[in-house]
């Protein structure tokens, strides 16, 4: 018993180490979404209002017009208070809750396989595999609200299963609360959390029926907590982001179907075969399967380098045999809530598959930690099966796991920043610190919009007081809901740079006119210039 607890502590510490080590320095810089979290937390910490002055928003942060679910900003208030407005503070909630997800996974797995004599070992293995998972490490090391939502969903699942065991109403309340917080944290969770709750309710409806009063009470509790969200959900703004990314607005599919009906000489049966609902269902399944593609899972991971180093998959190749063994074992022995494991994975892909960019590690992060649970069961069962060679097997397989982790981590610390700093909007920080130092010598400071959303970096790195921002800025909102800040104090962010006197310009090398007087260049980690400061 003591041994298991000790191992758990070691695993959680390892998880913390892999998530917190050089957190402020790698990834090399902050993306605009991260900066927006940090600054909104800063703003809420000062006067309880978001950057644009909404008081304690519960439904959304307007941000760039993407209407972010607000929880991450609230979680980041205290870290920003303690550590200041820094990269480390911005990423702190994700790294911390990422570490804690490893711990909660241990508890969740115990509940999943509550009748099994080996449940403690399954739990330890799953926790260990999550601790070293490239998928979870990458998403815990940046301010990704998806990672925080995952924490709450795992908590929700664990608390609900505990409630089924112990029948304590408090656990049920906490579970509902967890799931609801996840809904206020990340868009994908708005689909995954309700689906999971439905599945959990369906599996225990008899019990809920027996305690009708409590059920109704908890149900009402949940509804009340969801009211702010529902109000926002019914507004047109909530659809903006969805309309931007969904596959059902792609008319080329319908055109293709019409061509095929024409090829069939408009026969009645052809209109059934090439029905547009069917065509879109197939497109949906195509995007769904993308998220299960071997290349995504095991070889190079998400195509977006922010979510993957491209050296390893979202999982390790090492996991494959244990996933196969684990799945077969679970399906064969049917212990406890074994069915919840594959169902959880399948449900987690549901929202991501309506989007055009698939596979998507962030939107499908809710598949975690179930891959690790399967691999954990497979690993432990392999040990049990190989009675005689147990020690050799554990030794060899852990050595290979270690080598996999080493390979991933080496690429991450030795090469990742250099290869992908451009993806992290590197250059803004250095440029803005330079601008701040020299701002008194110029009348205007013009910063290019070419790298995207320069205003939020200006607010963040110059620590402009929210009050000043709200009173000195010019903000445009277009018909699609996008928010464009064109001026903050003497800082201007035009879409096209015009030539003015007594002005400090910060722009990409391509935008610098020939007669400019170059003051300083701000390179990416690989040495390529990202931004240039100049005057005319």
């Amino acid at each position: 018993m003591v041994k298991i607890k000790l191992l758990l502590v070691v695993i959680v510490l390892l998880a913390g180490l892999l998530r917190f080590w050089q957190l402020g320095a790698i990834p090399p810089s902050l993306t605009w979404d991260e900066v927006a979290w940090g600054y909104n937390a800063y703003s809420i910490g000062i006067d309880g209002r978001d950057e644009f002055g909404r008081y304690l928003p519960l439904d959304y942060l307007e941000s760039f017009g993407d209407y972010k679910p607000p929880v991450y900003a609230y979680l980041d208030v205290v870290p920003v208070k303690i550590f200041g407005l820094t990269e480390f503070a911005t990423r702190f909630p994700s790294a911390l809750l990422g570490t804690l997800t490893v711990l909660v996974t241990y508890f969740l797995v115990q509940r999943l396989f509550v009748q099994s004599t080996r449940k403690k070992w399954y739990s330890l293995a799953a926790a260990l595999f999550l601790a070293v998972s490239p998928w979870h490490i990458m998403l815990s090391r940046a301010a990704f609200e998806a990672n925080v939502a995952l924490f709450f969903i795992v908590c929700g699942g664990w608390l609900y299963l505990s409630f089924i065991e112990n029948k304590k109403v408090l656990l049920l309340l906490l579970s509902v609360l967890s799931f609801i917080v996840s809904v206020y944290t990340f868009n994908s969770a708005r689909v995954v959390a309700p689906l999971l709750v439905l599945v959990l309710i369906a599996s225990s409806w008899r019990m809920l029926w027996h305690m009708k009063k409590t059920t109704i009470f908890v149900f009402l509790f949940g509804i009340i907590l969801l009211l702010p969200f529902v109000h926002f959900f019914l507004s047109p703004q909530s659809k903006l982001r969805y309309n931007e990314v969904n596959i059902f607005s792609d008319v080329s599919l319908v055109k293709e179907a019409n061509q095929q009906i024409a090829n069939d000489k408009n026969a009645w049966w052809s209109k059934i075969l090439h029905n547009r609902r069917l065509v879109y269902s197939v497109a949906y399944m195509q995007h769904y399967f993308d998220n299960l593609s071997p290349s995504f899972l095991f070889i190079q991971g998400d195509g977006n380098p922010k979510f993957s180093t491209r050296d390893v998959g979202q999982l390790y190749l090492w996991d494959i045999p244990f996933l196969v063994i684990g799945l077969l074992f679970l399906a064969r022995k049917k212990i406890g809530y074994w069915w919840l494991v594959p169902v959880w994975i399948l449900l987690a892909i549901v929202p991501a598959a309506v989007a055009r960019e698939t596979p998507h590690a962030l939107r499908t992060e809710n598949m975690l930690p179930m891959w690790q649970v399967i691999a954990g069961v497979g690993f432990i069962e392999s040990i049990v099966f190989l009675k005689k060679y147990r020690k050799i097997f554990v030794g060899i397989s852990l050595v290979f796991l270690f080598l996999s982790v080493l390979y991933f981590q080496h690429g991450y610390y030795a090469h990742y920043s250099r290869e992908f700093s451009g993806e992290w909007q590197d250059g803004y920080k250095q440029a803005l610190l330079y601008a701040k130092q020299n701002e008194n010598s110029y009348q205007h400071i013009v910063i290019t919009s070419a790298l995207g959303r320069p205003y939020i970096y200006t607010l963040f790195y110059n620590k402009i007081a929210p009050r000043d921002f709200r009173s000195t800025s010019i903000v445009n909102r277009d018909a699609f809901g996008f928010v464009d800040v064109v001026r903050v104090g003497k800082y201007e962010f035009p879409t096209k740079i015009t030539e003015m006197k007594n002005t400090l310009y910060i722009a990409t090398p391509q935008e610098v006119p020939q007669h400019a007087q170059i003051l300083q260049t701000f390179p990416l980690v690989n040495g390529q210039p990202a931004l240039v400061a100049y005057t005319l």
Binding site: Q286, P294, S295, L317, A331
Partner: protein
């Protein structure tokens, strides 16, 4: 005794009846509109056809090689057996697309029957075996390649024959000779089999070594000697013609240099930082290992299998290689199969087969690849059939109505999906893929030969590359004449070429001499837009394919 005999008789008639049903279904789907769908031979089919024609009349291939074991063709060194198999059909159909496709169709139909017998041998369950063979008979993957002159399909047939005769040969040793013959034959048909067939045979020997060593020594030694004898010509050819491996090298991952730049950069950084760990993990060889793993796994991608397929000649448009309705039964089937009552050896054989099939393709680029992994068949169908049986049995335990409902739902889904496939294959394919099937030469050649010009210049630029082979094919050009005109030179890969009055080279309109005795056959973009075009040939979706112009 008497009843036993009549019992046996009825069993045989029973099996015969099932075989006839299978043949009718398989043949119907493979012979319907043969030669019209897909709409024309691709260059490989044309090459196999013309070389067969050349072999029949001269005993030599287009390069003048006497009775070759390998056809140099477009420097891709095709194993030659398929061309020999075309020869009998030349008597029936002449040099035509039907003749080229018939060997594959014949072996495709035979494969369905042998798979039935093989399944019956392995599982001893007529319903199950019939279902497996039926699923293969209607399989989009198998139909795709058994309606066209692709060697891979015959390679698959020989491998399945090899496995079947091996298993039967454990009881009747003389059948081992047939097994050895089949495995060797497959190596003479298709490239990938050089990897797959030996591994398959090795696996069979390992799994069944106990029974195999009970077979009399005499038979075993004869089989081994026969194997050596059969393999000798190919072995000698490979040793004496290092070029023959050119194709294998060309498509292998080891010649893929796309990642060298990034690994070199990484090693440079590692050296600067004295990062000794980096020397190891950023090594180029590690990239190859990862590539092979990636290629191997790419064949277990559900999107490839069920929705998109790979290049358009390898699947019906907007469809994958398996039916969508089969997916749940495939997954359940793997489970039911692994935990079925059959003995360990049977399970090892099928699972090993399933895992071995993508191996040859995983050392090549351009994966996933439906042709190089055709040896997957019929393992998918075996799993799907087990899945269907497993579900059915499961419902049986619950209640009757559930069972009827299950049958009804699956039948509707399967029929709908089958109808969709038939439409995609027989109607939509020609419209969408006629370019990929290099459509248009038949009309071009007959029109050009009606003009009687002194010189005919034909482009050899994509998508009309290897155009010379289509002229040989459709002109039925005299192979004696061809060999004497070209003096052991032939197509090569995108090389310029001449025979008789036909010249194959890029057309550069501005510098052409344009004498009125010269006819130009090119792509629309080879000619200025204001030129007088004698004839335009269109792809089946209405886009222009080939333009024929007189030099004026």
């Amino acid at each position: 005794m008497k009843s036993q005999i009549s019992n046996l008789k009825s069993q045989i008639t029973n099996i015969l009846f099932l075989v006839v049903v299978l043949i009718v279904i398989a043949a119907g789907l493979r012979l319907w509109e043969v030669g019209q769908v897909p709409p024309s031979p691709d260059w490989d089919e044309a090459a196999l056809g013309y070389n067969a024609y050349s072999l029949l009349h001269t005993g030599r291939d287009e390069y003048g090689q006497f009775l070759p074991v390998v056809l140099r063709s477009f420097d891709d060194y095709k194993p030659a057996l398929y061309s020999y198999l075309i020869i009998p059909f030349l008597f029936l159909f002449g040099l035509s697309i039907q003749a080229v496709r018939m060997p594959s169709i014949f072996f495709g139909i035979t494969t369905v029957v042998v798979v039935f017998l093989l399944a019956e041998h392995l599982f001893n369950n007529k319903k199950l075996s019939f279902l497996i063979a039926l699923l293969l008979a209607i399989s989009p993957w198998h139909i795709q390649f058994s309606r066209i002159g692709f060697e891979s399909n015959v390679g698959l047939a020989f491998n399945i024959f090899g496995i079947f005769f091996f298993l039967k040969g454990l009881k009747k040793p003389y059948l081992l000779f047939l097994s050895v013959f089949s495995f060797c034959a497959s190596i003479y048909v298709y490239q990938s089999e050089k990897v797959f067939s030996p591994l398959m045979l090795f696996m069979l020997i390992v799994i069944f070594h106990k029974q195999l060593f009970q077979v009399s020594k005499k038979h075993l030694i004869t089989a081994i000697l026969l194997g050596i004898l059969f393999i000798l010509p190919m072995g000698l050819y490979l040793i004496t013609n290092p070029n023959a491996l050119a194709r294998a090298k060309g498509v292998s991952v080891f010649s893929d240099n796309s990642q060298i730049a990034s690994t070199t950069l990484r090693i440079g950084v590692d050296m600067k930082n004295h990062d000794y760990l980096g020397y190891v993990v950023d090594n180029r060889r590690l990239v190859f290992v990862k590539d092979i793993a990636a290629n191997y796994l790419s064949h277990y991608d559900l999107k490839w299998l069920f929705i998109t397929g790979d290049v358009s000649r390898h699947h019906a448009p907007f469809m994958g290689l398996l039916y969508f309705w089969e997916l749940p039964f495939l997954i359940a089937g793997i489970y039911y199969f692994i935990f079925s009552k059959y003995d360990k050896k049977t399970k090892l054989l099928i699972l090993g087969w399933f895992l071995l099939a993508p191996l040859p393709a995983s050392v090549t680029t351009g994966v996933p690849h439906a042709v190089r992994t055709l040896n997957f068949l019929p393992t998918w169908q075996i799993f799907i059939a087990f899945g269907l049986f497993g579900f059915y049995k499961f419902m049986e335990q619950k209640n009757k109505w559930l069972q009827y409902g299950f049958i009804a739902c699956v039948s509707i889904a399967a029929i709908f999906n089958f109808a969709y496939f038939v439409d995609q294959y027989f109607v939509q394919q020609n419209y969408y893929n006629s370019l990929d099937w290099q459509y248009g030469y038949e009309q071009a050649v007959s029109y050009v030969s009606s003009l009687g010009a002194k010189e005919v210049v034909v482009t050899n630029q994509p998508p009309l590359d290897q155009s010379y082979i289509f002229f040989l094919f459709y002109l039925k050009y005299d192979p004696f004449l061809y060999q004497s005109q070209t003096k052991d030179v032939s197509g090569g890969f995108r090389e310029d070429h001449v025979f008789g009055r036909y010249v194959f080279r890029p057309i550069e309109w501005n510098i052409e001499k344009k004498n009125s005795q010269t006819i130009y056959v090119g792509r629309p973009e080879d000619f200025p837009s204001n030129i007088h075009v004698l004839k335009t040939i269109f792809y089946l979706d209405g886009k222009p394919a080939i333009e024929i112009v007189r030099g004026e």
